[in-house]
Amino acid sequence: MATILVESVSKRYGKHQVLDYFSLRIEHGECFTLLGPSGCGKTVLLRLIAGFETPDSGAIRIGETVVARADNGTHLPPERRGLGVVFQDYAVWPHLSVFDNVAYPLKLAGLPKQSVRDRVLESVALVNMTGLENRLPSELSGGQQQRVALARALVARPALLLLDEPLSNLDANLREEMRFEIRELQRKLDITVLYVTHDQEIALALSDRLAILDENGILRQTGTPPEIFEHPADLFVFNFMGVANLLPARGEGKACLVGRQIFPVEPGACPDGARRLAGFRPSDVLIDRESPDGAPCLRGTVRRASFLGPVMDYLIDVDGNTLRASVDTHEALDRDRMFREGDPCVLRFRNLHWFDASDTAGKGAGA
């Protein structure tokens, strides 16, 4: 069992409090992603779990074992935590061949030669590197080195695999391919995976569950990818999960106003006297020349129209507020939604997320 329990863990470097009473639970067998902006403390948390750092407060449990506990100084050294780690810079040993890199954990464990050989070949096959066992790392591409690192981390069959932005040094195609491979391996081997990244796309594609940290290392939300994408807990999460439009709205009597226009929204979204932000993705904007059924709509002017291939991307001005909308190119062509700069338009919205206007945290962090 490799349930990870992080309980009220704090860590500071000099004056910088990176983690402050941080708690997290990762279930056995899940692929869990820690998502947050650069410098928020993801690596620090991972290193605490791996045992390269010791917490200032709190405790960390892996399965039944307390691996670190600040109050009584418990610290199980990394080599005895039974985990695999893959680093951002691969950390493949340059003086050892692919075979020897992968074989190292088994040799340390004192396995007989023949089973070392079998297990190494099996692991190398698992990451699609068969035939390259005798190469030195200097003779491999970045993607291949990352596979070696993965094979090395998996060869001793750890119950827990920690990955720290393992794909960020690879090019886009390779990144996509590797991301599926990691997912597949995790299912095949039934291990717990903790994956750390600042890339929300990878996080959504890869995880069973994910946790979002803000730049101060505070946990904002935990959930499955659809939960987080569809129901962001706050403005920070909403912002971080992709391009975000925010329209400031205010309630006056029964109406909701954006600029000088009436914003037709469901009742109760914006009560009298409230100032709120309506958040939505560019793909959730429905843009037309005229309101299709005569119902009230927001009116705007197209400021910029860019053709991006599969979609048309519009920058639209609504009473001094700028927002982005994207329309499927085919639909735009078929249904007369190819706007030009200066064209007037009307807007409706799917999936509005409402946030308090005072909640300014995380503004622009993910966009």
């Binding site: 390269f52 010791t54 100084g73 199980l76 080599e79 810079d89 340059p94 190292y104 340390l108």
Partner: protein, 563 residues
């Protein structure tokens, strides 16, 4: 159980840290501290007045002045010579550039005191072969040139020290991005303007840094001044320290003078190193950090072959001629005879290699001392660098400070400090044994080892070690399987950087030797002092052969490592 594991790890870390600190404290810090203590502390209290009194004595004052004069002259000369030749072999179409470049590095191998010895044989006022040639054959009244002079000393030092500037400037000129110059050329600047406005400012930090290195070396340099200066009463700081300590057998006054002078040396050295850090730390140096480029070459046109001739002549006069003289004089029956075949034989060489106890001992001493010092210093250096570069333990700052010390402690200072520390005053008496020389060698060469090993360790990224830990390796296993194999080239470099120079060491050993613990350097020097010039020359010849062989092996090995 788990708490225990942490404790073991921490204990190991503290053990290594403690051992590293202990080594540096015992080997370097205590001797230096004792020097300062003896210099500034008299009869139980701090006493600066006496220090000035010592500095104002005519002899000491003159030695300080001489060190300054000689070092300045040497620095100026070497900088001009080194920069000129560096420019010639990197930025012009000089024929056989690569070969000439290699030749200009040869003086690195030649011990300057052996060079000084050769020049003494050629240009000493009465007996020098060249002076005699002119006086006997052309009937000149006075010698052509007296090598026993400031000019002679400076000239000899320049001959053997200029590579420090040469190699730095070559590197800078080669690494410099030619697009900078091309950009200037496109905007219409002439070659002279480009050189003055672009090239020189860019390589200036390298020139200055090389110059400061020479300044440091020359101020604390013993050999050349000892061979060429003492005859005429020219002492610099190290030679005066030697003379005082040696002549007066450790009287209080001589120790006082010695330690005051040594303090001056340490402080100047620290200042020069600080200055060098400033020079190199300047932002513009960044522009030339990077990989090699192919720079534009200046066409020498009609000057091409004359320039080559000049280079060959320079090499011939400064390297070939002195080396040949050493070997020839080493073959003579008696010093002063003309070099004709009846007077020449291998008898001297046979004698000093197989029969003469003094030289046999010296060779054996130098080789064993060199091997021992190289081994110990290499391992100590890798351990200390490991703590400084890689470990996270409290108390590391102190070690970092101690690690800087060896870089600013010249040889004669170390020798004096070692005498103060190990002469029985503090319980251990190593005086007159080889051990005191070994301790001094370790202190003297620790800087080389720290430099080579830190550079190698910087290349070993932390994650390589952490990956091993995550794979189940403990701290010691990680060291054995990952760190040591990766720093092996650095360790090997450190070994040879120590072993070869120690074969020809003079500055330290001359202050510490006893009748049976002469080193090669000491034996060459004392034989020469005692008028046994031919044996001295023969031993110098043997030393040159040893050094050249060793250097060739290193070049082969390092070529294999890189290829």
């Amino acid at each position: 159980m788990s708490a225990l594991a942490k404790k073991n790890d921490l204990d190991a870390a503290h053990f290594i840290l403690g051992l590293s600190i202990a080594i540096l404290v015992i080997v370097v810090a205590v001797p230096v501290l004792l020097i300062f203590l003896n210099a500034f502390w008299a009869e139980g209290k701090f006493n600066i007045v006496d220090v000035f009194a010592v500095l104002r004595e005519p002899d000491t004052y003159q030695a300080l002045l001489n060190s300054l004069i000689i070092a300045s002259g040497t620095t100026l000369g070497s900088t001009v010579v080194g920069t000129f030749f560096a420019w010639l072999v990197t930025r012009t179409d000089l024929p056989f550039k690569k070969f000439m470049r290699g030749m200009f590095l040869v003086p690195f191998m030649l011990p300057s005191f052996i060079g000084a010895l050769a020049w003494k044989m050629l240009l000493s006022p009465r007996a020098g072969y060249i002076n005699r040639l002119f006086m006997d054959v052309f009937g000149l009244e006075a010698p052509v040139f007296n090598i026993y002079s400031y000019l002679g000393i400076v000239a000899v030092e320049v001959m053997y020290l200029f590579p420090f500037v040469f190699i730095q400037v070559c590197g800078a000129l080669e690494r410099m991005d030619p697009t900078l110059e091309e950009a200037a050329r496109i905007s219409g600047a002439g070659l002279f303007t480009i050189t003055r406005r672009i090239t020189i400012p860019l390589v200036l930090p390298s020139i200055l840094s090389g110059a400061l290195l020479i300044m440091l070396y020359s101020m604390a340099h013993f050999g050349t001044v000892a061979v060429l200066g003492i005859e005429n009463g020219i002492y610099n700081i190290p030679t005066l320290i030697y003379e005082r300590i040696h002549q007066s057998a450790g009287s209080f006054a001589s120790i006082r003078t010695g330690t005051v002078l040594a303090s001056v040396l340490v402080i100047s050295a620290a200042f020069i190193i600080w200055l060098q850090g400033k020079v190199l730390g300047r932002g513009r140096y960044q522009i030339i950090a990077g990989k090699s480029f192919r720079p534009v070459e200046l066409k020498l046109r009609a000057l091409r072959w004359p320039m080559l001739g000049f280079c060959v002549l320079y090499i011939g006069v400064t390297i070939v001629l002195p080396t040949a003289v050493i070997f020839l004089v080493g073959g003579l029956k008696t010093y002063g005879l003309p070099f004709v075949s009846e007077n020449l034989s291998l008898a001297n060489y046979k004698f000093i290699l197989f029969e003469y106890q003094v030289t046999k001992d010296a060779i054996l001493n130098s080789v064993t001392l060199g091997l021992a010092a190289a081994f110990i210093t290499m391992f100590a250096g890798v351990m200390i660098s490991y703590v400084i570069v890689k470990m996270k333990v409290r108390g590391k700052g102190f070690l970092e400070f101690l690690g800087m010390l060896p870089f600013s402690v010249p040889g004669s200072v170390i020798a004096l400090g070692v005498i103060l520390a190990w002469s029985g005053k503090y319980g251990v008496n190593l005086y007159n044994t080889v051990w005191i020389i070994l301790v001094a060698y370790i202190a003297r060469y620790m800087a080389f080892s720290l430099k080579a090993n830190s550079a190698a360790l910087e290349q070993v990224h932390d994650s390589l070690m952490e990956a091993a830990r995550a794979c189940g390796a403990g701290m010691w296993q990680t060291l054995r399987d990952i760190v040591l194999p990766l720093v092996r080239p650095g360790m090997l470099a450190a070994f040879f950087l120590i072993f070869l120079p120690s074969l020809r060491e003079l500055t330290v050993s001359i202050m510490l030797y006893a009748p049976t613990t002469r080193t090669i350097g000491v034996a060459i020097y004392t034989l020469n002092e005692d008028g046994e010039t031919v044996f001295s020359a023969a031993l110098a010849g043997i030393a040159l052969l040893l050094i050249i062989t060793g250097q060739t092996i290193i070049n082969r090995v390092s070529a294999k490592y890189q290829g």
